[in-house]
Amino acid sequence: MPPKTMFDKIWDAHVVHQESGAPSLIYIDLHLVHEVTSPQAFEGLRLAGREVRRPDLTVATVDHNTPTWELSRPVVDPISKRQLDALAVNLKDTGIAFYDRFSRNQGIVHVIGPDLGYTQPGMTVVCGDSHTSTHGALGCFALGIGTSEVEHVLATQTLRQFKPRTMEVRVKSPLPTGVEAKDLILGIIGQIGVNGGAGHVIEYTGEAVRSLSMDGRMTVCNMSIEGGARAGMIAPDETTFEYVRGRSFAPKGDDFEAAVDRWRKLPSDDGAVFDRQVVIDAASLEPFVTWGTNPGMVAKITDRVPDPASFQQPAEREAAQRALDYMALEPDTPIQDIAIDRVFIGACTNSRIEDLRAAAAVVKGKRVNNGVYAMVVPGSARVKEEAEEEGLHRIFADAGFDWRVAGCSMCLGMNPDVLQPGERCASTSNRNFENRQGKGGRTHLVSPPMAAAAAIAGHFVDIREWKTN
C-alpha cells in the first residue's frame, strides 16, 4: 500500500458512500452543538418531521451567548434568554447530553470536548463553529460547519464533503524561550496569509509542534481557520494518550489500551505525500502582537507598526491603511509603545488550565495598571474549578483581575462582555476583525503571558524581559 497521510487514513475510514462527481458522504463520530448555530437546524428537522439520528454521538452546551457573571444572576437580555431557552426546549426528550449554564460540565464547546474526553484520536468531529479545528490537536479531522449542515448531521450523522487537499506545515527546531504556541500559530498565519490554507487540511509537524503540550497543540489547531484552512491536525503520540487517559468519557481499562493500539496507527506514514508543504523555522519566531484587523496582520514585539506604503500590492496597501485607521495607529509606532485599556484572557484559543497558569505566573504579586480593566474567563466550569483548586483565582484577584464564569465572553461581542467604542484590548482570542469584540473595539491578539504582562504594564511588553516575583 502506498504511504498515507493521517488525514487520508481518517478520511478513508469514514467514507460511507462515494459517487463520482458528488461530494463524499462521511460519517461523523462526534457532533457538538451550541445555542447560536442550532435553533434553525432543529426547526428544520421539526418542519420536515425528522428525528436526531444519533443523540448518543451528540453533545450540547451553552457558551456564546451566556453572561459570565455569577450563576446566581439571571440572563437579562430577553433575546439571549430566548435563544438559550430554545436550546433546552429543542433538546428535551432527544436524549442528547446537555450541559446548561449551571452544569459542572458546561463550557466553550472546544474546551469541553477534549477536556471531558469526548474528543478522541482518529475521530471525525463537527460543530456549527469554525474553531472546531481545535479538536484536530488530538489527531482528529475536526471541522466547522454551517447551520444547514448541522441539520444534516443531526438527521443523518453524516456530512457531505468534497475531499480537501492536504498541507504540511513543518516547524523545525525548538520554540525559543518566551515564544508560546499562540506566537507559533500567529507566526504561521503571518507567513502563509489569511487564506493561505484555503481548501486544505493542515497537518502541523516538526520538532516545535511535537514538544508542545496538548493545551498548546489546541491553541495551534484552533487558529487553522484563521489561515483559511478547512481543518488543522497534529498526530497523536504519548502526550496525546496521556492526556486522554482517565477523562470522563474516554474509554477505560482494556478498552483504553485497545484504543491506544489503534491510535498508534494514525500518524502519517513515512514518505506520505502532501499536496503542499511549508517549512517554518521556529528559531525565527518571537512573541507576536497583531496590529491590524485580520490575524495575518502581525508584528514581532520588537517591531513597529508597518507603513502601508511599504506594501507592494494596492489591495494590501489599502487594507493596511484601513486597518490602521480603524485601529487608530500611526505607522512606525513601536509595538511596545501601544497603550491598552482592556485585557481579555480567555476564548477557546487560550482559556485552558495551562494558559491560566502561564498568565498567573506573570501577574503574581503585581498590580494591574491604573486605567486598565482586565478579566480572566476560564474556558469551562471544570477549568475554573481546577484553577480555583490551585489558587490561581486568588493570584488574579489580588492583582486586580476580574475572575469570571466560563463562556466565550469577550471573544465575539455577543454577550454582555464587550469593548466600548474606541477601547483597545490585548486579547488571547483568535479574531481581531473590526467590531468583533464590540462595536468600535480595537483588538490586538497575543499569548496569555503577553496579555497578562500588558495588563500590568499598561502597554505591550516583551515577555522575554519580564521579571516574575
Binding site: H17, V36, Q40, G146, A155, G228, R322, M414, R431
Partner: protein, 199 residues
C-alpha cells in the same frame, strides 16, 4: 430551497479584500432563533453611522444602488466564523449572486445551502468589473447558471465561470441535501454496523 437558474439585476461593488462574516453580520445579531429577518443588519457597522443613520459613503446607501441582486467583492470573501447568518443576511437583503476572486470555504459552502450563487472569477476580471460598477453605479449584470456565463447587460463584459457539477445541479433543481442523503440510509446503517458504532 428556491431553484437558481438565471438572474439579472443591479450589482453593488464592495471593494474590500478579506470581508469577514463579522462584517457581514456582527455577532450581536445572531441571538435570534429564526432563519429570516437578518437583512436589516447586513454590513451593520459599515452601513450605519454610530448614530444609527445610514452612512452615505457606503455602497449600499448609494442612491443608484437600488435592490441589488449581485455583490462584487475582493478576495477571500466570507472568511471567519461559520455563521450561516451571513448568507441568510445577504439573501434577506435581496442578493442572490456574490462575485469574488476567492471565497472562504465554509461561507462558499453555506451559499449553496441557501440558494445563493458564489461565482469565482479571475482577480483581473473582478477588478475590471469593480471599476466599471464604481464608475457606473446602478449598472446591471446577468448570470445564467446552466450556461455558466455571467455578463454585464450593456455587453461590455462576458465571463464564463467554473462551478462544481454536483452543486450546480442542486442549485438548478433546488434540491434538499438531507433528502438526497437519506436516499442512502441503508449505507449509513451498513457503515454503523461495520464499524461497530450502531446506536
Amino acid at each position: 430551497m428556491e431553484p437558481f437558474t438565471k438572474l439579472s439585476g443591479v450589482a453593488a461593488p464592495l471593494d474590500r479584500v478579506n470581508v469577514d462574516t463579522d462584517q457581514i453580520i456582527p455577532a450581536v445579531h445572531l441571538k435570534r432563533i429564526e432563519r429570516t429577518g437578518y437583512g436589516q443588519f447586513l454590513f451593520g457597522p459599515l452601513r450605519f453611522n454610530a448614530d444609527g443613520e445610514p452612512n452615505p459613503d457606503f455602497i449600499l446607501n448609494h442612491p443608484s444602488i437600488q435592490n441589488p441582486k449581485f455583490l462584487v467583492a475582493g478576495r477571500n470573501f466570507g472568511c471567519g466564523s461559520s455563521r450561516e447568518h451571513a448568507p441568510w443576511a445577504l439573501e434577506d437583503y435581496g442578493f442572490r449572486c456574490i462575485i469574488a476572486p476567492s471565497f472562504a470555504d465554509i461561507f462558499y459552502n453555506n451559499c449553496f445551502q441557501n440558494g445563493l450563487l458564489p461565482v469565482v472569477l479571475l482577480e483581473e476580471q473582478v477588478a475590471a468589473l469593480m471599476d466599471k460598477l464604481k464608475q457606473q453605479p446602478g449598472a446591471t449584470l446577468s448570470v445564467d447558471l446552466e450556461a455558466q456565463r455571467l455578463w454585464s447587460d450593456d455587453g461590455e463584459f462576458v465571463f464564463s465561470f467554473e462551478v462544481d457539477p454536483f452543486r450546480k445541479r442542486c442549485l438548478l433543481d433546488g434540491l434538499d441535501d438531507i433528502g438526497l442523503t437519506l436516499l442512502h440510509e441503508d449505507k449509513i446503517s451498513d457503515y454503523e454496523r461495520r464499524m461497530g458504532v450502531a446506536g
